[in-house]
Symmetry: C2
Subunit: 296 residues, 2 copies
């Protein structure tokens, strides 16, 4: 099974990269292969384009003795593990295109424990309720195919996970987040189908967001706001994101882990928001039902 | 005693701000007073000038019931505390002027426990051995007045503390760092004299670094390198700095805590360094004896 998962994840990376190059029209992915000294490795792919300012679409499949930090956390005896996943973060040039993040992952130990995890979340620089509704509705459609409670549960999980606690703001408008989809919750093949459906939903979801924003005009002020908002993205990833922290703690591939950081960022002391910017901040809250936002 | 410490720290803040305004020539500090709901408050002062791109010189004096996180860490029963300090971070416009950080602090509980802490460290964008020597020599002179081992011990402490573990680099060329100077190590008045001497050394130390760099010409490439190097400053402060983490964990004054973050930053995937940039990285190591760097 793990060979199949790994191979499907690699194909997913290929498909997404090909599509993003087409969407950007100019940028091409640069690939860096890396090996993990203790087993496995990955394909880091980075794009710098005419519309995507900095994007990373990474695949990895690593294995070996379980790092102490994981075995402690799982309360398991020293063991061997295998982990594979695809991670994406895209920072657009145009502030009217949102930042998007997607991750699908699989983990197993040679003692027979296994689970899937993943998610997609969106960080618009300016929240547009129609685009937020489109985003959440598409995620709901994917979830509904696989479990009646999936969307409700995984949306709440995303609201709680992608939360910039020290700012009392959600990172963006959320999305879905899930972890530990294991044998207690379903068959391996069913979870795998769900995770691959999430992965395949990335292209249509992002294409819509991209097409609605990439050729809109924007002001210097709107660009400045984007750079300022990217600061929150950095704060979340470096202070709160468990995946990033784990990578930094366990000597992961630093350049690959930190590809999620924006190309240019600004921190302004007590930024004075205009009405439109304040409106976006007012929408960075947990628990907003974006699917029914227009009462439909 | 605590009133005296607080009042001297406030004076130190005043003196440093006045001097920095004179040094910059144009920028004036903006002051924001803030109150801590559970007791005390502070004076956050931020400057945006013609040479200092973003600088913060903050004073705070807070008190109240001890936060759970501190009493757990100290292994003390629930208690009342008082803490006061001055914290400085300056980000210059010219990449030939280093980033500087200074902190002096005092902590006590109403059960009679007390200690001082603090430090100064320097983060040049380009390491100049003569300027590094000047910096460390001045710190050594301050330390030598108060304790024969102070410089050796506190320089090592700074090397270990200001370390960007995931990059395997020191943040800059270090300086001095010390904590828990308490009754087991000397009289309160002696520690206070030392800490105030450290605080007062800030002006001559920074003035020299500033004057040697602020009117040097610099290229676009040198500016770009500065923005890139500032990324490491962010990484250290958000991932490793215990003071920042503590502030974020305990609902501190966020804008004041994060004033240390640079105004503009760039993250470039696999930045390709030129020889001069590589030379600086080669010097971001623990244990370099900058005082004797020319064998003098």
């Amino acid at each position: 099974m793990k060979e199949q998962i790994q191979s499907q994840f690699m194909q997913l990376q290929d498909q997404i990269c090909a599509h993003l190059e087409a969407l950007d029209g100019v940028g091409k992915f640069r690939q860096d292969l890396w090996e993990r000294p203790k087993g496995g490795g990955g394909r880091t792919r980075i794009i710098t384009g005419q519309h995507i300012e900095k994007g990373g679409v990474n695949f990895s499949a690593v294995h070996g003795p379980m790092p102490q930090k994981i075995s402690d956390k799982l309360g398991l005896p020293e063991n061997k593990f295998f982990a594979t996943g695809v991670s994406i973060v895209l920072h657009p040039i145009n502030p009217h295109v949102p930042i998007i993040h997607m991750n699908v992952r699989y983990f197993e130990t040679d003692a027979g424990m296994w689970w899937f995890g993943g998610g997609i979340d969106l960080t618009p620089h300016f929240v547009d309720p129609e685009l937020a509704k489109d985003f959440h509705s598409r995620l709901k459609a994917v979830c509904d195919k696989h479990g009646a409670h999936y969307f409700k549960d995984f949306k709440k999980w995303a609201d709680d996970y992608f939360y910039v606690k020290h700012r009392k703001e959600t990172r963006g408008i959320g999305g879905i987040f899930f972890d530990r989809l294991d044998s207690s919750k379903g068959k391996q093949s069913e979870h795998f189908d769900f995770v691959m459906d999430v992965g395949r939903s990335f292209i249509p979801i992002y294409t819509h967001q991209f097409n609605e924003g990439f050729n809109k005009a924007y002001s210097d002020r709107e660009k400045k706001w984007q750079l300022y908002r990217r600061g929150r993205y950095v704060e979340f990833n470096l202070v709160w994101d468990r995946g990033t922290k784990f990578g930094l703690d366990t000597d992961g591939n630093i350049e690959s882990i930190l590809m999620s950081l924006p190309p240019q960022v600004e921190w302004t002391y007590r930024y004075e928001m205009n009405e439109k910017e304040q409106h976006t901040i007012d929408l960075l809250k947990k628990g907003i039902d974006w699917v029914s936002v227009f009462g439909l």
